[in-house]
Symmetry: C2
Subunit: 472 residues, 2 copies
């Protein structure tokens, strides 16, 4: 590491630990020069780097400051924590989910209900070149060698990122899967039997609910704060009451809330589940899409017992459509590998080789920075639009990453009816009941801000707001 | 169709119906000219075409003859039909299967135990070019549009082949999957609940047994003839006795036997299952690898009720490692599509687009002809080697397609022990007990002849034969 990089890293670390907070002024170049004995050029280089990364900003004739969270004025208030019933429930949500997914495929529909960000945000041309180049260099025998757990070079690249995230995982304990969806499903299958109970957030990602439904598992929804994630007291109570077989959480930028668990809370979560011997399926597909100074910690980082089954993916942050995800299932790695072998054998070789090549070439972090900057601006635009157009009393979450926010309309609103009315106007939304085993959250909706903001979207938000106001 | 093509087609049809049999002499060019009123050039063109297709052969100064099955003299006798117990069994075969699969990945091991043919037999360079070209032309929005049921152009290409095979299927009723393995698993899930009974062949493909094991299903193995496939009388009795939820068969070139059901038998099978309302999961991944004059009929062709769930794949015959298979699940198409959506969402886009491009360009059938010619020669070489090197009393099947044969050593042989001894010599085999819910067939083994024959293979067969003779 060069001197200026080391200096930048130090400052970034202070910001991450909140020793320096948004709006704080940084030491001047002269101060750094005097106290640290480094040249002005080094300090400038470090500050330019931090500015490029969005960590600090310069104010003319004033100096450098830690970047303020750029949330708009007049933003809507945040929703309260959920209070789901404590009983287990069989899940019955699939039909609704398929209806919503189907309408999200129609490109003429404004994609607020979509599960995906805009494909235009991804380096598809570069990926096309990597794919072509990987296929030219292909060793024919890799078609046999790259069976589960998957391509060796790709697993090493993923292991490298785990190391950088402070949660070292051996490449041998990584299983490449057909997107995170398959990873999560295999992890769930590896640790449950039909009739078991699984703890999930409330509201929860619908695919988790569908997986429980399909495998004949009972869901217990646990109270979840829209900003800080699952309530650990409620979790402790549910662990005592239900003896669950597993807990399935999105610890960073939860879908649909956008909530983010603090590092200490993740640590406490892992310790609590560890005391009960309950595996944690950590769905972390949005973790790279943070707007803060640094990638959120992985719960996996605090795993001493091999009970955290961490699942990731390139679908949301690099290569949608390549269908490459992975699981790092800790002590259950072999079980997951065998399930992969006997359900779908292996992952597509062109996709695996292309991503391994891309990651080895570098440029992933640069792409991620651009993507995060775009998503953060789009979040702000959508929050502004909620404030401007939605009925008084509407609440909305303020996600610090990802591309979903959760809006709570005034009591009595019916987002299933709103969805039908909006679709007639060519606007998609994801209604709240998709995210609950009992179809609760009837006055809530998930909004996707993963698409570059434009007047069409602004107008669609105005139309949605009008429809919502008319809604009984 | 040109005149000479029509003439060739007529003759090929006579051969397929066995009106002309192997060794029969064809009418001379003069006869054709006189009786059909076609020019000598047309007849020559037709005969050259048939010769190129391997349907007929010319003998110097004698004329044209229907190609004789080129099986070697002194080939080993064929095994008898199986007689499995009629009771249902819970399956417990996975651990053994994983052990064998693992050792098959080691490239220094002679691949008689492998599940795959040699990757060198596939047009990988051409596929690499198609992949590169498809990725260059990529519409970014296809990453959303190509969710389950899969890429539209690819589904249309597959539908076209169903039409040519006389079993028309709408592209809308085809679900692209992560290899046939996923297709079969999804079809099985769509029509069963834990505790149900499923009928399979005996011996059966181990992945079918593993799927039953994983889903908590009971297996009933039904008597199967090594040449003609499942015994329909035994099937009728099992249907009465067990009220199964489904029947999972490989109707053409069954793995491990290589058996092939005649068209009338397939028709009878579909009618019999139809009378009981039992879905047929038709695993047809080897159907294109026929050595006869024409692709074997699909049981799907006789399906009136939408009960046949036909599963195919490009992994065995075109593009190993691309992980593209499909299901044509009849009346259960929507259920399978939804299972695909909620377990792995979609298939890799680079693989789908590359294969759609390849199929549209043409050349698939030419590749298949080359592949079939290679496999047939390798089958002959392996049968000769069995006859030469294996203990007296060894029986072996004579598959008319695919790349597996099934050898039955004299009673008392133990192929699990043989497998361990052979592995020490660097030779892999697939022992019989892998293919049975109760680990029967202890004196049998499956041999893979999917790799170009060479002296190393010949010597490995000699070593295997010696080990087998020493075996108690």
């Amino acid at each position: 590491m060069k001197l200026y990089e080391a200096l930048a890293w130090e400052i970034e670390d202070l910001v991450a630990r909140q020793a320096l907070r948004p709006g704080d002024r940084l030491p001047s170049v002269r101060q750094q020069q005097a106290r640290r004995g480094v040249s002005p050029a080094t300090v400038f280089q470090a500050y330019y780097l931090l500015e490029a990364r969005g960590v600090i900003e310069s104010r003319p004739r004033s100096g450098y400051y830690v970047t303020r969270r750029r949330l708009p004025d007049g933003e809507p208030p945040e929703p309260q924590a959920s209070r789901p019933p404590v009983e287990a429930a069989m899940v019955d949500v699939s039909a609704l989910v398929f209806e919503v997914l189907e309408s999200a495929r129609n490109r003429s529909v404004v994609p607020f209900g979509s599960a995906f960000p805009s494909p235009l945000l991804f380096p598809l041309a570069r990926l096309a070149r990597e794919t072509a180049s990987a296929m030219r260099r292909l060793d024919p025998w890799s078609t046999v060698a790259d069976l589960a757990p998957g391509n060796d070079a790709l697993r090493r690249q993923i292991a490298l990122r785990y190391q950088l995230d402070g949660a070292p995982v051996s490449p041998d304990d990584i299983v490449i899967t057909n997107g995170a969806m398959e990873a999560l499903n295999l992890c769930l299958q590896a640790v449950t039997r039909p009739g078991d109970t699984v703890l999930v957030e409330s509201p929860a990602f619908y695919a988790a609910l569908q997986a429980l439904e399909r495998l004949g598992l009972h869901a217990v929804e646990v109270a979840t704060d829209p900003r800080e994630g699952m309530d650990l007291e409620a979790l402790a109570a549910a662990l005592e009451r239900h003896q669950p077989a597993a807990c399935w959480l999105m610890t960073s930028f939860q879908n649909p809330l956008g909530s983010l668990m603090a590092p200490e809370k993740k640590q406490e979560l892992v310790a609590l589940l560890g005391r009960h011997g309950v595996p944690l399926i950590e769905d972390d597909v949005y973790g790279e899409l943070y707007f803060g100074a640094r990638r959120p910690t992985l719960a996996k980082r605090y795993d001493q017992q091999g009970l955290v089954m961490h699942c990731g993916s390139f679908s949301k942050c690099l290569a949608p459509g390549f269908r490459i995800g992975w699981a790092a299932p800790g002590r259950h790695a072999r079980a997951v590998e065998r399930l992969k072998l006997s359900t779908s054998l292996a992952c597509a070789m062109p996709s695996q080789l292309a991503l391994a090549g891309y990651l080895a070439q570098g440029g992933y972090d640069r792409h991620l920075r651009q993507l995060r900057t775009a998503l953060e601006a789009q979040r702000d635009a959508m929050l502004m639009a909620v404030a401007r157009h939605f009925p008084a009393g509407t609440r909305a979450t303020r996600p610090e990453g990802g591309y979903f926010l959760w809006a709570e309309l005034p009591a009595g609103a019916d987002t299933l009816a709103l969805r039908r009315a909006a679709l007639e106007q060519g606007i998609g939304i994801a209604p709240g009941p998709m995210f609950s085993a009992r179809r609760e959250y009837g006055n809530c909706l998930r909004l996707n801000y993963g698409h570059p903001w434009n007047t069409e979207q602004e107008e669609a938000m105005a139309t949605l707001g009008k429809l919502a106001a008319r809604n009984p």
